[in-house]
Each structure stands twice: as C-alpha cells, then as structure tokens.
Symmetry: C2
Subunit: 411 residues, 2 copies
C-alpha cells in the first residue's frame, strides 16, 4: 500500500490528557484515535494489527475445537438477575441503558449468562457435550478510571470462549489444553518469553484461576515469579497456603510488575445451576453442565505489545502482527527504482508499505521509525553512489547495504 | 465440518413472539438466537453467512479506495451537540448511558459526527483529499417496535463508508462509483435482479438521496418502479415534481413492496461546517470538505436474502454467501463411502458440511432442507442399489444420480 493512500497523519504530540506511553505512541503514529478516556477508534494501521492478533487467536481457538459465534452487547436483565450479577451492588462496572418503553438493559461486560441461557436450547444431554463456543466481541466496562490507554478500555474487543463439559474430568482436560493454546498465542504475538502462567483467585468451584501475566513496568498488577517452576503467583493470593500448594519457597520468588493479558477460569456449575442448564448425565441423572471461561483482551494485547517493544524512536512491531512487513522509503527525486521495487515486493505476496511522498528525508525516516514496521528499505544516497539500498531491522537497528538482487533474495 | 461438531440444534417451532418469516426460519435452523426483539446473536452457521456477506462488501469497498477502520459505539455528546443531533427531540432512536461520574454518553446509531471530528486531525488541505473511510461496526438504534427480525435490529452490524471530497465534482464522481459498487454487492449476494436504485428524500445539500430497494412482500417500504428506466421512486417522495425530474409517466410505474438494503447520501458541508472540517482549497481559500455517507445493513441483507429465497421447506442460500457449498447426508449404516467422500471434497478446498449423525433418514433430509445449503449429496438407497449418490440442487429441486467419479468431476 502506498503511504499517501492512508489518510492518517503522524503527529508530534499526543493529546495532553493521555498518560499511557503505548497509547501516546499509537496515537502519534496514527494507529488509534482517542474518543475519550478508555474509548479508542482503530484507524487503518491499528486495525491491521488488531486483525492480525485476532487471526492468531482464531487459529488457536479453532484448533481446540472452538466454534465461533457473535453475541450482542445489549443484555436482557433476566438471566443476570438469576445469577445475581445484575444489581450495581454486585457488579460495579455495568453500563446500563433503556428501551423506549422504559425497560432497563445492560451492555455486556462478559457473556456467561446470555450464553448459558442460549445453550439450554441446544444442549440436552451429555451426548451433546463438550461444547466450546467463542467470539470476538466488544465488551463494555464502566471503569471509574481509564488511564492505561488501550490496555484498559471502557469499550474493547475481547475474545471470550466458554466451555461446557459433562463433568470435572472432561473440563480439566480441556482447561489444560487452553493453557497451552494461550501460551501459543502469546508466543506467536511476540511476548511468550515474558508472559507467565500465574495463579490467581478462584471461585466457588476451584481454589485458583489462572492468569497470563506479561512483565511490564507500567503494569497495574504485581506478581511473584518462580524461575525454577516457571509459574507465578498474583499478589492477591500470595500467602503461605498458595506457596505450600505449589511447593515454592518465598526466597526463590522474584517480585515483578505486570499486566494481565489473559485469564482462564473454572466456573463449575455456578451459571448452569442458576440458569437451568441441567442435562442427563452418563448415568441417566440430571446434572448441571460443568463450565469454564477463557478471556483475552485483543486491544489490550495490542497495547501490551506496543508498550513492551517500543523504544525512544517509536513503535516496534513483531513480524507476526505488524501492519506491514516491509517499509520502502524513497528519498530520491527519481522514484523509478522504488516504484519498481514496490511492485516486485507486492508480487511476492508480502505486505509492503511504500512512502513515495514528496517530503524531507529526515521527516520520512523519523516517521518510519515511529510507525515501527519490522524491515525498512531505504532507497537514498547509497543507491545513487553504489546501486545499493539500505535494509534496516527496526528492532535491532542492524543495517545492510544490498543490491536489489540481494534484497529480493531475502524477501 | 461435521454436523455433530456444530452445537446448534434445529427446532420445529420458532419463539412464539417472533413474527418475521426469515427470523423464524433462521432461528429454527440454528443460524441466529433471539435475545429480545431486534437483538439477535449470530450462531456458527449464521456467522458464516454474515462473514461471507461482509467479505463481498469489503472487496467492493477496497476497490473504490476505501480504507477500513473501526470506530466505537460509545459516543461523546460534544460533536453531536454541534450538529444538533444529540437531543432526543432531534433524534428519536438514541440509546444513552452514563459514565460513573454521571456524564451522559450515547451509543452510536451512525458515525458522521465522530468521524468528521476525527478527520480534523488528518485532513488539512485539498491535497489530503479525497478520503474514503469505512467500517463494519455494530450500530444501536432504539426502535420503538422491532418486528422484522434481523431486517430491523436494535443492535446490528452495518457497513458505513464516509467520503470526504474537495468539492462537489470530486464528490459526484465518487458517488456514481458507489452506485455501481452497491449494485455489484447486491448482484453478488444474489438479489441484484430484484434490487432497484431508488430516488428518496435528500437533505439540505441535495434534492434526492439514493436507496437500494429489494422487492419483498414483507417489506416495510413502498416504491414505484419504472421498468423502462430501471429506476424506482420511494413512496415518500412520489409526486409530480420527481416524475418530472426523472421524465417518468405515472402510468408506466409499478407499485411494489420492498425493503431498503442500502442507501447513499450526499451530505455536502452539513457536518464539515458544524464540526470545523474546513481546509485550504485549490484556490487557497478555506472551504468545508464535501461529504457523503454510504450504508449497508449487513445483518439486514442476510435477513433479506433469507426472506427472498426461502421456500416451504426452509432456507435457500445463494452459493456466494451460503455457510457451506455442499451438504453430504449419509443415510447408510456403513458410513465409509460418505467418510471418504467428505475427505475428498474437503481436499478440493470446497466448504462442505457432513451429516454422519445416527438419526432417522427423514429427519436428516428435512433438516438439510431447512438449513438450505445449495447442493445436497445424499448417500443412501441409490448407492446400495447402483453405487450412485443423489446430487440435489436445493433451489431448483433438480436431482441427478451420479457415480462418485461423476460427482467429483462436478466439484
């Protein structure tokens, strides 16, 4: 794509009320737009990143047998009243609204209730189980403060999967698969090495839930990491009992700031009992379906990656989710070499952004650094002098001078 | 995909409060779920159809130079106050909600205001124009009544494109391109022949807007169609003046019931003036950007197609948007032939649904008809007798007996 065909302009300053470093960079580079605190639009470059992350997650969810659906934001209060999550005294981050006739509705912050009710039409016996349904859907959460950019939105894209199993054994098997699927996702988006499976508080049906926490200086969470066991403990459950359960000594733990990029939760019969998802089990008895829920904030993940890899020059995207793989920056008054190169790279099927705008060389290079595409291809002075283009790795800064032939061999 | 791996079950009856014929069928066949009037979830089969339609639209929007973005549902009142569309006395279908601090927010029913404000950061002069931005985004409309299933939702997926041009000439050229792009879309989803470009009421900047109306007995609109000119007039503007403008005689017009599947609108400077999207023009003067908006309800389009082609047996999907292209229904106790056929068809890359469930033949065939996949491949009695499968065109009912070899040659 030609850069002149993308309407966004980079800017020197982020809005003065923006405090998150990743949000500042994403706004300055034209990836997102701030509507208000915690509410951000995805612009062309940002949407490309978001879709790349979404596709990575989709592949993993399909691989574990997930079936994609899409539920609504507008919520009928009825099932939420049954599970006792409707009243503001029980859930403090609802956005609520009203139909013209005065009926109060909610905007979904999650979907256990609606989906459990839906499943009563489709699951009648253990023979219909297990079922794994997931969606990419915008959640609404009425956060009192929203100061972390797209890492904590009031409206944000979430992947949420819900599992419906016959019993605890069937559930546990799937739960373990999801742990692996989640680690695959974080690995693929580039933060695998700094993301730890973390023990967090459970619920009525399990002592612990599991979070995936990514080390991040601006993170809002605190975890204790055991290098030996390669697991972590969330500050909120950090006590003698959990260390005993995990056979971990306090001295071996490293305290770290982090951000939660995913969580998985055994729900047991909490919602199936409340919403009457009771089915015939293998012994012909009526039993509540055993449920689990599995969330990843897609926008948050994008924010965490931005925050993690950014340097003083701007954003640095991992190849797997970058908006483009190559950024050709033409600095010559005669753009014929760059034009031909652009066409040649496009022909290989690679995603390439081409800056053939008539601007100062310095401004174009600075902008390329700010946008953070993994490989920069600079057609400038060295081409005039020695018929070579500069091939720069944005992350490492490594630079090579290559002939067009050498470059194309790399692509 | 194996049918047993889709969690939805078909049902004999739709919910008693559902009046729309297409919604009844879509619910019975397991494509959608009704949360409440005008609010429907997309289940696995339904989401496949929706995504197919989305992709057809995306190709056409990219072809005219559209850049994809994704804006938010939550709306800051400020730009809407400037355009005088915030107050309920001006716009009667807002859903509104509140932040914890009491600030009132809206849920977007459209995005002219937010996008125009956004563009003030990116468009500074005529050199930055034209810009075409579009999105697939869930709109919220607080309809007093919502009785048309997914053809009139309170929450629904919409494709909305907004054009920003230097002047009326530049705008008009694009507006004509969009007319063609829209007809391409309706052609591709299978309703081209019964969808007419329709003159409807304009606004302050143009006498008429254009709708795309599809003939439909359960439609809420009335149009007057001129076969000779292949255009129609919406009842709301049907008078001597418009007939004069279009040089059409009343006698030549056919009155038809229809449903609006798209509309395109010249907005002129209405929003750019209200929201200060004023730029340097070619003559160095400050001028408001000339805008247009172009909408298609994606869910509505799915509903209209369902409504249009359904027969007494159930849904009938056009190939271009069907959830699958082939439906193998095994009726033999030995499924080895069907199993092999399923694998062979999958290998060709074609989308195939395979019913290898242990159910009565009659029930399986009825269900296949209800779901409405274009080509049914029945492996039953005729295979035992003559090693042939039945290949049925769901739409026409035409049936052929084919050997496996003859069948594979068709696929």
């Amino acid at each position: 794509m030609k850069q002149r065909d993308i309407f966004t302009k980079t800017r020197k300053e982020a809005p003065s009320d923006e405090v998150s470093n990743s949000a500042k960079l994403l706004i300055r580079a034209g990836f997102i737009n701030k509507e208000m605190a915690g509410v951000y639009d995805m612009l062309p470059l940002g949407l490309r990143v978001l879709k790349n992350i979404e596709n990575i997650i989709r592949v993993e969810m399909n691989a574990v047998g997930g079936q994609e659906i899409q539920m609504t934001a507008l919520q009928d209060p009825e099932p939420w009243k049954k599970s006792e999550r409707w009243e503001d005294e029980h859930v403090d981050n609802w956005f609520k609204t009203n139909l013209k006739n005065g009926t109060e509705l909610g905007l979904a912050f999650t979907h256990e209730e609606a989906l459990t009710r839906l499943m009563t039409n489709h699951i009648n016996s253990y023979k219909d189980l297990p079922v794994y349904a997931y969606q990419f859907q915008n959640k609404f959460r009425n956060e009192l403060r929203a100061k972390s950019g797209i890492m904590r939105g009031r409206e944000f894209l979430m992947k949420d999967l819900y599992s419906f199993s016959s019993d605890k054994d069937e559930h546990d098997e799937f739960y373990d698969k999801m742990k692996q699927a989640y680690m695959n996702i974080f690995e693929k988006v580039g933060i695998g090495e700094r993301t730890y499976l973390t023990f967090a508080s459970g619920g009525s049906f399990s002592k612990y839930s599991h979070e995936f926490q990514t080390i991040c200086d601006s993170g809002e969470d605190k975890i204790f990491y055991s290098e030996e066991k390669d697991i972590a403990i969330n500050d909120e459950v950090m006590n003698a009992e959990v260390m005993g359960d995990l056979a971990i000594e306090r001295d071996s733990l490293k305290e770290l700031k982090s951000v939660e990029v995913g969580n998985i939760f055994s729900l047991g019969a909490k919602y199936s009992e409340a919403l009457d998802l009771i089915v015939d089990d293998k012994n012909g008895k009526r039993s509540p379906v055993f449920m689990g829920s599995y969330g990843i904030g897609v926008g948050r993940l994008m924010g965490v990656v931005a925050e993690t890899f950014a340097d003083e020059k701007g954003l640095v995207w991992p190849e797997s989710i970058a908006p483009f793989r190559y950024h050709i920056v033409n600095l010559l008054s005669d753009s014929s070499t760059s034009d031909a190169l652009y066409e040649d790279i496009k022909k290989t099927g690679a995603d390439v952004l081409y800056d053939n705008r008539d601007l100062q060389a310095g401004a174009k290079l600075k902008e390329s650094d700010l946008i953070g595409i993994p490989y920069q291809i600079i057609v400038g002075k060295s081409f005039t002098e020695s018929a070579k283009v500069e091939f720069i790795n944005r992350k490492t800064g490594d630079s090579e001078n290559l002939t067009i032939k050498e470059l194309m061999a790399k692509i």
